[in-house]
């Protein structure tokens, strides 16, 4: 799909088109993204009379491949892209795929400071340079079915240990009530990372070194909790988007589920079909031994520019506009990563009347402060590795704990293949 966002005629009329040359002088930017991001580009195009934006829709799983081809052929390389996966930032700033523009000297410190804490970690490179801007924060929250919680006389857990107890109480007597679905990469990773289990976590002083220790006490503790919850039936051995799980959720059999900030709008409202006023939002639980929670994330896109673009200034303006502009982000589908822009988004979120809890947005803001500093951009595909090593076997009935050694092996192999130095302790 290719289209110019604004007709030349309109641009011309608005700018009192004196000469034909004026239209020629317009800066033309070729941009790639998913259809959801098209309105962002469009808004920039409309805000700037001197810039014409040509949008090309590129599917998530084709982004890196298409860009590799464009870079290799030297034709049709976009000036700016939206990356749906934070890992694309690392994958597109390697020696062979050196696409991303260095932004640290182009984006002022004030703007950088405006982003939620740790939300720019995926955009930071070894030497402290910045190669992208975060679109949305997608840290985990605890979503729950408020009427069901009340009906069962249970209270919302604040620690994972309580989460296990509440889940077990709800699932008792073959009630069929579940508190999560774990046959999927990130829901499982969430348990591990939130307990400080280190699976491909870049070292603070050297991001080229990853620490991988899947059999550490933290990992084992988290895996055992998952196994116990699978045994009591409080966690389902399917994925959160599997048809059978959707059926459970629609049948009022889902008590609570850890999920990222976009879970409410996209999964609970649309797929689980919770009615208005039914969904509660709580802080993601912490582990009993922790002082404060350590919050993992699921997704969150990033924007980047082409380092060899002919119009670096226009590209930087574009990247800043789409991430920080309040009007554009008010109607964004996900929670904006730029704090000032997210406030109005939050007002709309709370004002929708869909959520059962007061100050739901504030809870999400609070949780952002505990973002895991290891949620970085990596050249290896951690989701694929995790799926391969764990998910299929777990879904077929194996215990999570028994799969940790093969998870370790797969992660070490994948990290080394991607050129990382690996330490295990």
């Amino acid at each position: 799909m290719k289209k110019t966002l604004k007709t030349m005629a309109f641009g011309c009329a608005a700018a009192i088109c004196a000469t034909g040359a004026f239209a020629q002088d317009k800066v033309k930017l070729l941009v790639w993204g998913d259809p959801v991001r098209e309105p962002f580009y469009q808004a920039f195009d409309e805000a700037r009379d001197d810039i014409d934006v040509e949008f090309v829709s590129v599917a998530r799983n084709e982004m890196v491949a298409k860009l590799q081809l464009a870079l290799r052929s030297g034709e049709g390389v976009p000036d700016a892209i939206f990356m749906q996966d934070v890992n694309f930032a690392a994958q597109l700033s390697t020696r062979r795929a050196n696409y991303l523009m260095e932004l640290s000297d182009k984006v002022d410190q004030e703007t950088v400071d405006g982003f939620y804490p740790t939300s720019l970690v995926p955009c930071e490179k070894a030497n402290g340079s910045l190669i992208c801007l975060r679109n949305d924060v997608a840290h985990f929250m605890l979503w729950y079915n408020a009427p069901l919680m009340e009906e069962l006389g249970l209270s919302v857990p604040t620690t994972w240990e309580e989460y296990e107890k509440v889940g077990a109480a709800a699932a008792a007597n073959d009630s069929g009530i579940v508190s999560g679905a774990v046959a999927m990469h990130i829901p499982l990773m969430n348990f591990l990372y939130s307990n400080g289990c280190e699976l491909a976590v870049p070292q603070a002083n050297n991001p080229e070194t990853l620490k991988i220790n899947a059999t550490s006490p933290q990992c084992v503790e988290a895996a055992q909790l998952v196994d116990r919850m699978l045994d009591t039936g409080s966690l389902a051995r399917v994925a959160p988007f599997d048809p059978e799980f959707l059926e459970l959720a629609k049948a009022n059999k889902l008590l609570m589920i850890p999920g990222p900030t976009w879970f409410g709008e996209f999964i609970i409202k649309r797929r689980y079909e919770f009615a208005d006023g039914m969904t509660g939002v709580a802080m993601t639980p912490k582990w009993a031994a922790q002082d404060e929670p350590l919050v993992w994330s699921w997704g969150g896109g990033v924007w980047g520019g082409w380092k060899d673009t002919k119009h670096p200034e226009a590209v930087v303006d574009l990247l800043k506009f789409v991430t920080t502009d309040v009007d554009v982000n008010r109607t964004a589908v996900t929670m904006p990563a730029y704090q000032p822009a997210s406030v109005e988004w939050g007002t709309a979120f709370d004002g929708s009347g869909y959520y059962a809890t007061d100050g739901s947005f504030d809870t999400m803001v609070d949780a952002a402060a505990f973002g895991h500093p290891g949620y970085a951009s990596l050249r290896l595909d951690t989701r694929a590795s995790f799926t391969k090593a764990v998910v299929n076997d777990l879904a077929s009935g194996a215990s999570f704990e028994s799969l940790l050694p093969q998870l370790q092996e797969e992660f070490v192999n994948a990290a080394q293949l991607a050129g990382y130095k690996v330490i295990t302790d």
């Binding site: 081809l69 795929a97 994925a239 059978e244 595909d381 989701r383």
Partner: protein, 303 residues
């Protein structure tokens, strides 16, 4: 005089033969041109590429090959593809031959109808077949859910892990490709001399003997051709595992087959050199097998 005439006749014959050869080459030319452009050239290009660091265009010798062979995913991928090829090619050879022979016992009109029905799934692109199968494998929506339930598979996960990728991909491949080959084998069978069939029948051959003693030996070359072609296609398996993620992230199989590894290097790492090395390596094996089959069955020998 007679000897001179014979020489003259020889010369004329040779000229005619040469002209005929020329004509056949001219007729072949469009195909040859396309083959050079889209098969020979890319193979040679990849072969050349496999010795270079494609980023700085430096000659690297065997570095790319070493990197490819050291990849921890290569051996499992080769094992996956080997299992798949064994299952799929046997499924094709046995299944297609059986169906073609059964169709041959029908009278002309019903056979033509059934043959067209068999051909239909082949008209669906393999990517669409994958999506179709993801529904077929889901007990919630599958028309075969009673089969899955009978063996205790109550969700998509358990069907997929219960059947295993090898069998799933082989079934997908069989459904998509068998129709075309049934038509080809049907053609070969209907081309058999009716005299021989009649003679066998008069000699008292029952349908089983007719099939195993008369028909199969006479179409064995077509069966060999099918085996070689399905083998070549099977070793390049790519779309089926690549699209498994459509069923959900947990089914993603990005490094299941050797071709996927080449794709991974080219389009994830941007390392076209290693990708070319893997491609070159994965061309050698099918070539060896194909030549072995061709010589073992004396494929081009004209009876």
């Amino acid at each position: 005089m007679p000897s001179l005439t014979k020489q003259e006749r020889d010369v004329r014959k040779r000229k005619a033969a040469r002209r005929q050869t020329l004509i056949s080459y001219i007729l072949l030319l469009p195909y040859l041109a396309l083959m050079v452009m889209f098969a020979v050239f890319p193979v040679l290009y990849a072969f050349g590429l496999s010795f270079f660091d494609t980023f700085e265009n430096v000659f690297w010798g065997l570095t790319n090959y070493r990197e490819a062979l050291n990849d921890y995913r290569l051996v499992p991928a080769i094992w996956n593809v080997t299992q798949y090829v064994l299952v799929w090619v046997s499924m094709m050879v046995i299944g297609v031959t059986l169906l073609a022979l059964l169709l041959d016992t029908l009278s002309e009109r019903p056979a033509a109808i059934v043959r067209s029905i068999y051909f239909m799934p082949g008209a669906i692109a393999s990517s669409a077949v994958v999506v179709l199968w993801l529904f077929l494998l889901d007990p919630l929506v599958s028309p075969f859910s009673f089969v899955f339930e009978a063996v205790g598979w109550d969700n998509r996960q358990s069907t997929i892990s219960g059947l295993g990728e090898v069998w799933i991909f082989a079934l997908m491949g069989f459904l998509g490709n068998s129709g075309g080959w049934i038509v080809v084998l049907g053609g070969a069978l209907s081309g058999l001399s009716r005299d021989i069939i009649e003679a066998a029948r008069i000699d008292g051959a029952n349908p089983w003997q007719m099939a195993t003693r008369i028909k199969i030996p006479m179409i064995s070359k077509t069966i060999t051709l099918m085996a070689i072609m399905t083998l070549a296609v099977g070793m390049q398996i790519f779309v089926e595992p690549q699209l498994m993620s459509l069923a959900g992230g947990q089914f993603d199989k990005p490094d299941w087959s050797v071709t996927q590894l080449a794709y991974f290097y080219a389009f994830r790492f941007g390392d076209f050199g290693v990708a070319a090395a893997i491609s070159t390596l994965s061309l050698v094996l099918p070539l060896i097998i194909a030549f072995t089959l061709i010589f073992a069955t004396r494929f081009y020998k004209i009876d």
